[in-house]
């Protein structure tokens, strides 16, 4: 099960919307909650429709539209998205209206747009795409499940181009709610570029919408080859993690020594960095280490930002200095491995290679 990434589109807290650019300018948020830099929606969305859409719907439609254009595909053969929290803003809006108005005088719009499958449904609706359509909603496995489904769908042979995406938004209220259970850093003004060195608990909140066109065939515009994905639920030891990584690598005829760059999901939370530190100092001692959550923040579908970064590194054969941990040891970027976790329960491994 493998597929070529032949298009992408991403809205994130960085200036990532232009598919030709690759972090040429890094935005330092220095905040505990990183919000996306939204593009101009004018030529991407019908203004009448856009007025009713929440931020995450607009960002996702914009990202998926750019992805379709980048891949030169009008109608994908399947659409699968991952989102842990769905359309949070609409959910909160309807919930608050129920509470404040004591279940009276409610209007349906925010309820309609609150369902987790709103984004994949809206993409289908706008494209009039009647093909396979799925939404995965499993915490730190949401995007990963969509990716696995994408690979399976391509392998099944009927679908040639599948649109796979991950999207989650953070709201001011949900930030406060998660803060109560220790998700975020307590210090004020966290210097985001120093997140890697952090010795305290908690991370910084993030969000984003990223879409990829997975294809059965290699094209000129191909970014990278997606070789495989593995999820590990509540790993009991580093041995188990290493075994799962090796299983994925050996199934492709690779060893850890073949991995040029590793993208780690290090999020600055000292409670959760042990796996990353272990892998960095053992299995992938010789590989170049990079990380990304200081750029996009922590969120359940952050694996989609990592996959974007890995694909761009392979295509451009460059590693932006802002994502490097230590020295760049790679002359060539052939194989990139992503290791990401959410709250130490949902771990995932992605393998990407040069086309």
């Amino acid at each position: 099960m493998e597929a070529y990434i032949k298009g992408l589109g991403i809205v994130s807290p960085q200036k990532t919307f232009d598919t030709n650019d690759f972090l040429s300018e890094v935005v330092e948020h220095n905040s505990k909650s990183l919000n996306c830099i939204e593009p101009s929606y004018k030529e991407l969305l019908n203004p009448t429709l856009a007025r009713r859409m929440s931020r995450i719907i607009k960002m996702s439609i914009a990202a998926s539209t750019v992805c379709l254009r980048d891949a030169k595909i009008e109608i994908p053969d399947a659409i699968m998205t991952g989102t842990a929290l769905g359309c949070l803003e609409d959910t909160e809006k309807f919930l608050l209206a129920i509470i404040e108005n004591e279940e009276q005088f409610l209007t349906p719009t925010s309820f309609i747009q609150s369902t987790h499958n709103t984004v994949s449904a809206q993409i289908a609706l706008q494209l009039k795409c009647m093909n396979y359509n799925f939404t995965y909603v499993h915490k730190g496995f949401s995007f990963e499940s969509a990716v696995l489904d994408g690979l399976m769908t391509i392998a099944e042979g009927e679908a040639k181009n599948v649109l796979v995406g991950g999207h989650d938004e953070m709201t001011e209220k949900f930030y406060r709610v998660c803060d109560r259970i220790g998700y975020w850093k307590k210090e004020d003004d966290v210097p985001t570029m120093e997140l890697f060195e952090s010795k305290t608990s908690g991370s910084i909140a993030g969000e984003g919408a990223a879409f990829f066109m997975l294809s059965h065939e290699k094209t000129e515009n191909c970014y990278a080859k997606l070789r495989g994905i593995k999820t590990i639920y509540k790993p009991e030891s580093n041995i188990e993690i290493e075994a799962k990584i090796s299983e994925l690598l050996s199934s492709k005829g690779l060893t850890a020594n073949d991995i040029d760059v590793v993208v780690y999901g290090i999020n600055g939370d000292c409670r959760y960095d042990k796996t990353y530190n272990h892998l960095k100092d053992s299995l992938f001692k010789k590989s170049t280490s990079t990380y990304f959550k200081h750029l996009c923040g922590e969120y359940q579908t952050s694996g989609s930002f990592a996959m974007w970064m890995a694909a761009k590194m392979i295509k451009t054969q460059t590693i932006p200095s802002a994502v490097l941990i230590g020295k760049n040891k790679s002359k060539q970027i052939k194989n990139v491995l992503i290791y990401n976790t959410f709250l130490d329960t949902d771990h995932s491994v992605f393998l990407l290679s040069q086309c």
Partner: protein, 401 residues
């Protein structure tokens, strides 16, 4: 890719029974589970009837064999109870002996608790052990709760495609087996009643103030329900020597791409889903003995679904009924609950009646089966589930030969 998918275990909890035996008894007695809302506070209590499970969360916790300190969301508890039944009926002693995963589905997740605690979450002055429910809001939390209780670790995921969610969970689980990624998957879905959904459907004006009347020309809307259904599916090799309830022979997923909440009048998405399911199963429409329809009782669904069925079956529609007037519409769980019903239809050669039907819809060629039918051999059942966002899915269950 040609391997078969065998069903070796089933479990269900809904307004018509806490297990398979109680469910069958309710069907035989034509006893609907629709009644007055009891377990949640709502202004609409007494106004809109619902299909509620007759147990408090504390009682459900005990039913799942957990101590009071392990109480979770109603969604998670219902899911665990149905999944435990499925695992037990499959005779699974050691869940880790095969590569076993879980694919669950839910539409509301932990909303049933979030809606009670939301203002307290936002008030830093208030604190308590209930803060643990913040993480339970996420849909995936109920799946992890079930997986942890059953000892499943190999693969977990959760699907939410509104009212078709658990059909897609069953489909994805089957594909994981066909790709050789897993040997066995516990697949299904769970959803609990919440003010959020009651009020949401109220604003859409599609809740019937009386018991719902699927496929009746005078239908006024749906009744909400709650519940969970899980089935154990295994590869041919893994199921060897085991009792097999039925096979999952076909599945199809499509999108209506017509409107965010309403189905297209001609049921284009529904048609495609059924067509794909038939193609995967290799069956002809005339092979289907019974259709367990989505049949919510809303003006739009029943017309759209009925029209698509007429087209697929060229107006020669086999026995068909909606069981929603028994259970209410259990949203993300309905396809899994109805999968269990479909499997029971095959196992016991039984067709469940479509309650509350009197007036035929002039747009459709067929009338649903309105009394319990036990005189026909059932080999193949088609089960439909459609949701907001145009998500349309169809599953086909077949007798194991």
């Amino acid at each position: 890719m040609s391997s078969k998918i065998y069903i070796t275990g089933i479990g269900v909890i809904s307004a018509i029974g806490n297990d398979v035996a109680e469910t069958l008894a309710s069907f035989e007695q034509l006893s609907s589970g629709i009644g007055e809302l009891k377990h949640i506070r709502s202004r609409h209590k007494g106004v809109v009837p619902v299909g509620e499970i007759k147990a408090t969360n504390a009682e459900l916790t005990a039913m799942a064999g957990l101590g009071p300190d392990k109480e979770s969301t109603r969604t998670a508890l219902l899911g665990l109870i149905a999944a435990q039944q499925a695992v037990k009926s499959a005779g699974i002693k050691n869940i880790k002996e095969l590569r076993t995963g879980i694919v669950s589905a839910t539409s509301v997740g932990g909303m049933g608790i979030t809606e009670n605690l939301w203002m307290d979450y936002l008030d830093p002055e208030k604190s308590g052990p209930w803060l643990k429910y913040i993480e339970a809001h996420e849909c995936g939390d109920s799946t992890e709760f079930i997986a942890d209780a059953l000892g499943i670790k190999e693969y977990l995921t959760t699907i939410s495609t509104a009212c078709s969610s658990s059909a897609n969970a069953i489909m994805f689980g089957a594909r994981l087996i066909k790709h050789g990624i897993l040997d066995r998957v516990i697949v299904g879905g769970t959803d609990s009643m919440s003010r959020f959904t009651i009020n949401g459907f109220m604003t859409l004006m599609i809740l019937d103030k009386e018991e719902c009347k699927p496929f009746d020309s005078q239908r006024q809307g749906l009744n909400l329900g709650e519940g969970a259904g899980f089935i154990v599916i295994e590869s041919e090799k893994a199921a060897k020597g085991k009792e097999i309830y039925a096979e999952l022979s076909g599945y199809g997923n499509s999108n209506d791409a017509y409107h965010q909440t309403a189905s297209s009048p001609d049921g284009a998405g529904a048609f495609l889903a059924m067509e794909k399911a038939l193609k995967v199963s290799g069956l002809k429409p005339s092979d289907i003995d019974y259709i367990n329809a989505h049949g919510t009782g809303t003006a739009i669904n029943d017309l759209s679904e009925g029209t698509a069925i007429d087209r697929i079956f060229s107006n020669k529609v086999p026995d068909i009924s909606s069981t929603k007037a028994f259970t209410g519409h259990t949203l993300g769980a309905c396809a899994a609950i109805e999968a269990v019903f479909s499997i029971l239809a095959i196992k016991h050669n039984i067709i469940f009646p479509n309650l509350n039907y009197k007036n035929p819809m002039h747009e459709l060629s067929f009338k649903p089966t309105i009394s319990l039918k036990i005189d026909k051999k059932i080999n193949h059942v088609l089960s439909n589930s459609f949701g907001f966002g145009g998500n349309t899915s169809a599953l086909i269950f077949s007798r194991h030969k």
